[in-house]
Symmetry: D3
Subunit: 338 residues, 6 copies
């Protein structure tokens, strides 16, 4: 049963140094357009749903290129607005082994998205069209005007009985000094509006200021997530624990908390080709499982497999179909497919 | 003592997405020309023999490009015919880690090779020139006309005392429903004509319908290969067991059965750069060992090392010299050579 | 007033040798997806209309890549069907100066589009959605089944009061020996169904077998086009005369015949970057002028300018906006825009 | 006699679409770092002088890449400051024939250069080191803080007997509505400080509001430049008249006004590979001629030839040596040099 | 009637900066292998003859790459020797318009070819195999040992009734000071051995020291070539006059002198993509005309057209077939071929 | 406290086959300029010192490109001389897994550096400018003239109280037969002049002919290095033990011997992206530690971490800053930095 999902968020231009060169060694950059909303909406479109991106892009050739790219990703353009002059950008230098990858942002605060004035988006029209709306904490960090758009749209969707998804995704560098203090009230607003929340114990401790005497991450999680869910009226809370291994593989274990119960995925260990955006693939898996009526156990395995596959795909944006994720859940890696 | 080897088979154009992108993410393709016959003939030319490719290519710029490429690989052009209009093609998307590689074929049944009419090849002239002729099961799957070319050429070579090599290489997708049933009589024809056969226990069970109560692959192999050799009058049977490991390395162990005895290579474990065509490198090693009078033990180690090295080379076609294979048989991986 | 235009036709994969190398000198190919329908529909989408592509693509990664590319071009996917296994392809080697460009086709007759069975397209649904439908003579050359699809769709649109556009686009190599004889009845069927026809005097003479005693192309045109329009009930007939100059520039003059009157564009002379598909830009200009209520004089100037700009754009598919075409109609080439 | 020239200005990152694709057709960008100051300083370094760039770059990997690139160009780093977070960027889409090139700017007002606080540059230290200092009108358009840096540095150099060069380079899009009115007082300040000024009659008319009854550009120039020179105490005024021809070649004629006399270069007509920054090559030629004691006639021919050659070089920044410019002044285009 | 042509000469590795960058702007180089002998032999192979390259290449991976490349060009490897350690190389920076192309050589005097010891080549075996042998003046400039190889091989071929072709191709930079004096005796030796000579009036004047009172190149040619032919017993003398036009096109007119008569080709004017090696295409056309029994008039038109086409092909080596040259002799440049 | 370091050595042009192709499979090469001196000087410049390269480059476009590249690396050009005609070059084919990398040299003995005549370098001027001078055993292998430059410069620096660094770096292929015998006196000369020496037990045994009864490398090291230091008056001796593991990772352990004490780094195990030049990063770490007053223990950990990071960087030349090395000493590999 295909659903209609609106994703609200900024489109960033990713400028990636090819191969493993540093920017100072290179003469060219590969570019693409992404963002948490782009990634989640596009992944859900690939799972058979309709993904409406709600954003604002500049009215120039960079905005045209972004529009073309987003159409290619399968996003529906109905709610992509044009206005302002700039797009947010970031440079990516791929790490190798002992040398970590490095992201350098250009100035995104003057972007078309972050300067979109009141009245840019027709919240009611979007709410009428969408069964689900997705937001993330990166957007919440931008400025008051963007936060107003977020909350107004969330309320409009909720008012019409739609589902609100919120991914906490706290980025310390975006909130600056006293970040947690500044962020808390806004996070609380979004948590109260949300039905499905992506988070883990760290968000509870650092953003919401909750307390636990437990020492392991697992125990903290088991104690705090139910408290958060109860306090803010959250139907589904889900997230991951990631570790980076000595041989440069990553390990990922997903969890979902629903109906007072936790389900955990297998701990998956895998080689990483492109780390960025893989968390959004996990989110898309959780949302797809929920929309498709999967059991929590199947949902969390599906989301973890979707997350794993996203690490093997170039670019921020997941590209796997539902059948590819289902196969990755069950089969060992195989030989060439022909 | 350099020999003259004729290889009969289709030339395919390989259209490979660069790096690890999907076709839908890419804008360019790297191309090359290959095929089982191309790979085996070229590898043997690199070991010092003369490799005659027996095939048909279209009389247009694609055929010209293929001819140029095949000359570059070191194949002798005497028996490369020109006619028809098309070349078979396949798209290759490289997998990464948990995501398998993917091959998508274009329509090869109307290719110049697969529509080459009776009278295209002068079997007697080829048989006069060649000490050895090589065929494979992919070619056998094409159509009756191609099968007629194969069998006629094999008979002509055998009649003049030449050696016939046949690689079973059963591809289920090429034979369709009831494939084994359709394939069996043709395989039996080729096995009766062949002196050296590339196969393993699965071919015996599935294609030839043989039975065994053994459970492990090794035991099945040990029981069935001697039966096949006896039944079809095969002088040398050889093949490999491959496994794909959790860390994305592959393991390969070769065997050879000759004079009622099995010899096995060391089990080699190695990283894989380009999987496709590596089996043909193993075949070329077996043929080279036989033509050079190596002991079965040396032959199988040589073939396994040739196969391993082919996994480290871009493209379908092996590129290693005899001395490089010999070194890989004996030495650990070394530091930069300078 | 944006209109809805359906374009019916095959999607071809263009495999272009980069730069000015021959295929035999190259190791990579740039690829894109195009076709007359793709080009016209995409150009009209860029002029602000909705372009529905009616076609069939294979259900594999090549079809996925084509879908993604066509979305990027701005085409609406509602009527893009999936089925069959193959896509038509062509290789392009760019000429330089005294050396002409060269196109080599792969086998397109087994493509998904050309083997799409009866019942693939819902003619009524398309006719209900579209104000205009566009066909071309290349498609007409394929086979009876494709011709049935064409005529059925044209009738359905006509029956609902929609506009039928037909581009004669006769390609001798597609019709084979006695081509004109074979083609004539099918062309006549389409001309009777069409409201807007792209053609020139050569089509009248060679396909329709009309006679003229005039000697210059201009005189022949002036005599024959009105006859054709009268005979087949065509509302608008339009086309171009092209010449290739000694300095490698091309000259293009457009004409339009409507309401018993001819209008001609200025003769434009310009440098050529990518010749292929430029005729489709001219067609899109004629259709856009008609849909927008331009005078015939403005329409033909707009179409010629659109055609000229398409020669400056990489790939088969026009990329210019209405404002860019309008500016090219009136201004001299300018310095850098910033 | 090599001199020491300080150039004050912003470093821009140029992000160029390869070949003749539009940004929406491309997936990669070639990048380089340039700016009027960069171009002039680097060209003068290539003529044998020392070029000190006075600018501010961010303290991150983009700033590091810029530093490395500027060193490669031959600029001396003594006065390149690090601070702030961003670099100005622009996208370049190359035009072809009838389609003009297109430049799209990112947000440069928050760049490290444009936000460099008071106290960033040690004017006295620079003035002590430099024989000449160069400024341009683009920089003057930025903001008051940048204008303060300009004027303070110009005064410091003048006070120590150094030469001040000012290139009017008025860009309407940077000054906005009522631009000429806003700009005039700042231009007047700079003109009063300048010894050598790059300008033509349009600057006199539009920025300075001067009046002439002459109708041709040549006559206007001949009347107005002497007035400007007299009024602001300018020792040397120089500039060019450019025209773009129907065959896409450009024509350029330079002039210099010195000691109450005009000298004009030959009118040069040439093919253009990369238009951007070619004006800075002309400036560098004027400055080099003045610093080297060339006669005005030789200076203006040298500058015009330097400008012409810069159109044949990839990137904004001139790359020709003095001997290459001298040869281009005197010789016809030759065959391959070997 | 296909002939067997041996070409004696050095294989050079061409390292070309992509596009129009300078070496100091680039980070990569395109490479290929060429040389006068390579170019002539390969062009003749493309015209249907067998081209034996007589040369020496190093026994390392650079030599392997050269061998593979030369096979791809269609050269027969029988007389390509392996020995020594190095290959000659040159860097090519493409000019644009007013900026000439630039060639920079690496040290070629220690190359495998130039250090090949006595006994490297079996002159008698080559002479037995070849109907024709080709040499050029570049080779003659190398050293005494290379000159001995040349003259010995020429004598062996002549002794068996074969045809000797010599291309004067005097390069001042290779002969150094007093170059003409040093060169003259060696040129005289080769001219006495040669049947077909590529030269023009400048060679007669500067190398052979002949005198003429004529002033135009045409008159000098008409006077001197018959004298040279008579003095040295040359059957066919042929060459070209080239001019470079203001619009960057080149003009070429060929001549042939045979049986006491001159024939001239049309003067061809064309755009140039790759200048280097185009003279060798002209030579190959002369040789092909002579070997095929063309009339002198047809031969010189064929050679000029072959030369023209070689300017449109990337790389030093001509790539046109006989039918492509014949078409270029007769037809205007056409539209896309499909 | 930034120091001034002079590095004496040849600049080599590295011509690297992209990706993992063999040279015979490729059509392009990536190039850069490096050398032991370049690598060490550039690494030290990145650590905040001034790096003067003392070398000679040809006066042509290859030399210009090298100069530009070396400026980009941050080297100071004061003592880069221009003269001669050639640059040393090497080809690099990257290995993969079981296939080792391969380096093939062009003829370097006629390079500008190796033919620089007496009087090329002003030893006194360099010695006055530099606190430290660095040499290596590769340079020592070239010829007597180069060795004279080395020793003269070392003496001049020592005479003024500067520090002499010598890296033994014995390359068997450069010294030929009886290499150790030929090399020994020159190594002894350099060891007597050196304050800091890069070496290990193999250098002591093979070059200096020292004897030990110990069997393990560690024991040999512990016995021989103090003897060498005592005998030649060396203040600091340092080096590494490297091993290549079955999974293609490398392990590296550094040692430093100073004040009669050994310090060892942790044994680091890591993935390798580019092996070449990594030893020079280790050297630069030792020199930086010494110049910065680090304890021997910190110095050797810093050097080992610098060496490890250099294996993750494309090209021969280290690119890490001091803070990046310090972080790599202490932290586990992290997630993306943003």
């Amino acid at each position: 049963m295909a659903k209609r999902i609106a994703v609200f968020g900024e489109v960033m231009m990713r400028l990636q140094v090819p191969g493993y060169d540093l920017l100072s060694q290179a003469g060219s950059l590969n570019f693409s357009f992404s963002g948490t909303g782009v990634n989640v909406g596009s992944a859900l479109a690939r799972f058979g749903h309709t993904g409406y991106l709600v954003t604002t892009l500049p009215m120039n050739s960079v905005g045209d290129a972004a529009m073309a790219y987003l159409r290619k990703l399968g996003l529906t353009t109905t709610f992509m607005m044009r206005g302002g002059q700039y797009i947010g950008m970031y440079f990516l230098e791929n790490g190798f082994g002992a040398r970590p990858s490095r992201v350098t942002y250009s100035n995104r605060l003057e972007s078309s998205f972050n300067t979109a004035p009141e009245g840019t988006y027709d919240y009611e029209a979007i709410a009428e069209e969408a069964d689900v709306v997705h937001f993330c904490g990166i957007t919440l960090a931008m400025n008051d005007s963007v936060r107003d758009h977020m909350k107004s749209l969330a309320k409009a969707v909720k008012a019409r009985g739609g589902t609100v998804v919120f991914d906490c995704n706290y980025r310390p560098s975006l909130w600056g000094a006293d970040g947690y203090e500044k962020a808390k009230p806004h996070y609380e607003d979004m948590l109260r509006l949300a039905d499905i929340v992506m988070m883990n114990e760290k968000d509870a401790i650092f953003i919401l200021g909750m307390h636990t005497d437990k020492e392991t991450r697992s125990e903290q999680l088991a104690e705090l997530i139910p408290e958060v869910a109860a306090q803010y009226g959250i139907r589904v809370a889900a997230g991951t624990h990631r570790s980076i291994n000595g041989d440069n593989t990553h390990s990922l274990q997903g969890f979902i908390y629903k109906n007072q119960n936790f389900s955990y995925s297998k701990k998956l260990t895998f080689s990483v080709y492109d780390r960025i955006g893989a968390g959004d693939a996990y989110t898309s898996g959780i949302v797809h499982g929920e929309l498709s009526g999967f059991s929590p156990g199947k949902t969390v395995e599906f989301a973890a497999a979707a997350g794993m596959l996203a690490h093997t795909i170039a670019g921020d944006t997941p590209m796997s179909s539902e059948s590819e994720v289902l196969r990755a859940m069950t089969e060992a890696v195989g030989d060439v497919e022909r």
